[in-house]
Symmetry: C2
Subunit: 212 residues, 2 copies
């Protein structure tokens, strides 16, 4: 496959399409149109077609896209055909909740293990898995080769966690920490920013009041 350079927004949308396709598959549908995908994802059908056409011609004029084939193709593009393991750093309430709630309905990710540096927590269970001491992280990362790490440590320790992960060879991180983290260029860091989402909601709510 040719590695096309494409925007992050487009990749996010591919992820949404994949989710819709999985649902359509469950419903037993075998064909889906750009219009249906668009409605499900809240965008225009032209956007859907454009996103998909970047990578090839997956559809058939007059009918639409084969659900199974398109899903396979998108998972190929995303690389989620054989998804990497996910580990969690920090067995606080958020870390444990992620572990327990699992990732059902996603591309097939599974939480492999969870770590903490608090001796009192080590050995306890989060769902099925026991909390492991943090020094075992590098071993796990080396074994798995490819790992996405979720940082769910308490405020202020995010940067330390990141550095430990990077040293161990991890290059994909999803952080729930509030603070912005610094990482080398070859490491991709993304954030789940609950507080920013709340700010955006507040802004929109208050703006409406002003306008009305």
């Amino acid at each position: 496959m040719i590695a096309v350079k494409v925007s992050e927004k487009s990749i996010r949308r591919l992820s949404h399409y994949a989710r819709c396709l999985r649902l359509a598959k469950i419903r037993g549908e075998s064909i889906i149109t750009s219009q249906e995908l668009a409605t499900n994802c809240g965008i225009s059908s032209a956007a859907v077609r454009r996103d998909l056409s970047i990578y090839g011609e997956f559809g058939k004029q007059g009918s639409g896209y084969k659900v199974d084939d398109l899903l396979v193709n998108i998972e190929n593009i995303l690389g989620t055909t054989d998804p990497p393991s996910v580990i969690i750093v920090g067995a606080g309430s958020i870390g444990c909740a992620l572990m327990i709630s699992g990732l059902a309905g996603t591309a097939g990710y599974t939480y492999d293990s969870i770590f903490d540096n608090d001796p009192a927590k080590i050995g306890r269970y989060c769902g099925e898995k026991q909390i492991r001491p943090i020094d075992e992280i590098s071993e796990v990362i080396r074994d798995k080769k490819e790992v996405i790490a979720v940082i769910a440590v308490s405020s202020g320790s995010g940067q330390d966690a990141l550095e430990m992960l990077v040293d161990a060879g991890c290059n994909a991180i999803l952080s729930f920490a509030l603070e912005p983290l610094k990482a080398p260029d070859n490491v991709e860091v993304r954030y789940v920013e609950v507080s920013t989402e709340l700010d955006v909601l507040t802004h929109s709510m208050r703006r409406k009041e002003r306008v009305n």
Copy 2:
């Protein structure tokens, strides 16, 4: 204040600036430059100045921005000077974790209450707060006037939860549910999409392998 029409991206960045400013305040700094804000948020200083100049001239050439004043101004713009209450629908692991972990370090949001429809859970504690029956939601929303609701229910029940909230008068929702939700135009819905973030990370990781 004039209600300027502005992009969501810009609002998100304002939220980040606010966070940086709070940290700077804690560190005891009284002046901050666009360059410092930019470095902290991982963007260019021109972007910072542009975002801020949309709403007024908050800075002083030659020195920078007064930390306190700028923070007040941004909180005014976002509407977070007096932030709305946040309620949680769904006392599963994620809902409870949010309640427990709290919102320290944010604009000052507090989780007001948490609801579930499972009789077995009602009355139990999530941190300080007892889980309340779901039929009390509309009462709470009416009392508070302005509420942001976090949907953290199990897969498949997201739409039901949303409709109940909308009926009760809530018009700002943050959903952790996987499925895309349908809502009236006057209701703002945002999503925390852990699985999409993982997909984006996987894509970036796998793309690097191909290129190298």
